[in-house]
Assembly symmetry: C2
Homo-oligomer: 386 residues x 2
């Protein structure tokens, strides 16, 4: 069940589309909370149609797949419940974070979780020189899907960019036109010369992008700003371009410039209105989950549902735990992770799935000297084995 | 000759010691400038003893190895010349950059270059969690020699840190004491808990280091600052610690935190009084140089001697060019590199070694639309083949 939902998630993300996973948790069940069902919901944009939501909620009754207790989610979905679900899904899509809501189901206290998934953040690097070569591996570590463009075959060689998803050899402007850039896409203009840089910038400055930066000296950047102004580009659009590209940290070598750009990409995606695509690391974790299920290897998926105070990781962070104690991903390391792992191993031995609350002020946490204070609510689910 | 000098450089760097390469160039030779000799000079600190300098200058006469013209550098070195050399070497060691000086040699105009080499920058990461795992590859890209410490065998496993030079499993404070940290060393405290973080910090806060950062929430950092104050640690020492560690760019995932730390490391090493160790990339370039020479493969080494204006790379940047046109390293990419490569290929066909001046305002540069304006002086030398 869990694995089938994430199989759909992976397929959707690979097609560049967004989606949401809905999870219903009964809170007053005898043995604490209990996962009553999990649903996949395909989305585009941050608005969700009521009927799509009702359809997702009614594919099979909640509860049925998990423990044969027939509950909500019958083909006749309570319209009030569906409306609550729609609101929750939209909130999760807007925030890019897990959203949860206490609902009442046939008199029982329950929680509905909506976890949004956006495709991996895209980074397009225009220019295939040394800075680009250093930027690709750092951007890949940060979870970006990277495309590199250069018009010289010797530089647009895939073997020069082992981590890149795509390397395009074409005229820069023609490549930009062919790429169908999404509004969340980040673009770094670092070609071999300002003439090419300027052509790229003129083709991009009017578009809605998650990030747009251009390399260049301070002097050159001033000239280019004046040129854009005189071409009638608005001050607001000019100011949105990060030029000279990269945080001003005194970077000198191509590798240092690459890190200064990477730091600025983080600032853009974590700032106001920034995107929150799934990381390459989480994609891999989900692939491992689906693959383990297919091969009949039992595992428990831990997902941070709510994090209060200064917890090391935020809602949506994931950890996969296997019976031999091996793990993938992280929900923050330290003793919270150790505790989650302990609970996961109990679950693999027949314990109860559901929500667990971990406090960083617990005795165990205090003893280890955890770096932060706060509480975390973590959903532990058994990955169904075939 | 060139390769023997850099062989000495590599050996010295691998032993963790600094050194300088002295190059004498005659400017008024018939065919433009001409390399008259190259010397290795071992150093420690930024002061150089006059007699060591005289010894280096007099090992064999300058000129002899290269073109059988006997010149300066005879066992009797002109004391005035030696004094100029000492001053130049010390200036290069202080700035961490190539220093050059016009000198007069038997009535001929000449240039003496001093190129300093410091061992790779050291980064010690205390704690072997997810942030550390993400930080190691980024720090390696930046040219750091990385040591990871954790007191748990499962976390201090070398296979978890493929790029690290050393992984130590020991109590944190004992490991710190055993490491003999240099004053230029960078240390990142990112253990699993504040108790360990604090022990590390107390062991390090009094030392002279190139960088010291500690992970933690704002709240926790305040508590720790108060604790240090009440233990009598001076405000100046407390303020020198980067805590919370990393540039404030909104980093959330371990990978993002790692990049925020890497960006701060760059800021520290490129700022006032920062260190300037050789990068892993340049170490590799020198290894390739020495190895090519050993195997009889002709190559030309290009070194930026002076960069004026906003050139993409600074003095000391290196490029190795082979007869088939293949290159290692970079002196800035674009047409300046293309021109240097052309000159290098001519040199491999019997042309003259020496200093070349490239202008980024040249016709060829303008045509390509180079990103920056300025001039670069580049030393081209044939790597002697055995």
């Amino acid at each position: 069940m869990v694995d089938m939902v994430y199989k759909d998630v992976l397929q959707t993300l690979e097609q560049g589309e967004a989606c949401v996973v809905l999870t219903l948790i009964k809170e007053n069940a005898k043995k604490g909370s209990r996962v009553a069902g999990k649903r996949f919901l395909s989305c585009s944009g941050t608005r969700v149609a009521m009927d799509a939501c009702i359809h997702a909620l009614s594919v099979t009754p909640f509860d049925q797949a998990n423990d044969q207790v027939n509950g909500v989610g019958d083909p006749e979905v309570d319209p009030l419940f569906a409306q609550e679900a729609v609101t929750l899904v939209e909130a999760s899509l807007r925030s890019g974070r897990v959203a949860s809501k206490r609902v009442s189901l046939e008199g029982e206290a329950a929680r509905l979780l909506a976890e949004p998934f956006y495709p991996p953040d895209e980074l397009v690097i225009l220019g295939g020189g040394h800075v680009s070569q250093a930027l690709v591996p750092v951007a890949v570590i940060l979870g970006y899907r990277v495309t590199v463009v250069d018009d010289r075959p010797a530089f647009a060689a895939p073997e020069r960019f082992p981590g890149a998803a795509k390397v395009i050899c074409d005229d820069f402007v023609r490549a930009i036109e062919g790429l169908h850039l999404q509004p969340s896409c980040a673009v770094a203009i670092i070609t071999r010369g300002h003439r090419h840089d300027l052509r790229c910038l003129e083709a991009l400055v009017g578009r809605q992008l998650g990030y747009l930066g251009m390399i260049g000296s301070r002097r050159r950047v001033q000239l280019i700003k004046e040129h854009l102004r005189s071409s009638g580009v608005s001050e607001e659009k000019i100011e949105r371009v990060q030029m000279p590209i990269g945080l001003p940290i005194g970077a000198q070598t191509p590798e240092e410039i690459a890190v200064s750009i990477a730091a600025q990409l983080i600032q853009a995606r974590r700032g106001e209105g920034g995107s929150a695509g799934i990381t390459v690391q989480d994609m891999e974790l989900l692939r491992t989950l689906v693959d383990s299920a297919k091969r009949g290897i039992p595992a428990v998926l831990a997902t941070v549902v709510e994090a209060r105070g200064s917890t090391p990781r935020k809602a949506g962070a994931k950890l996969l735990v296997f019976r031999d104690g091996q793990m993938r991903g992280t929900i923050g390391g330290g003793c919270i992770e150790a505790e989650a792992r302990r609970e996961a191993l109990l679950l693999l031995d027949g314990g109860a799935a559901g929500l667990f609350r971990f406090s960083l002020d617990d005795d165990a946490a205090a003893e280890e000297g955890m770096a932060c204070g706060g509480t975390m609510e973590v959903l532990l689910e058994l990955v169904a084995t075939v």
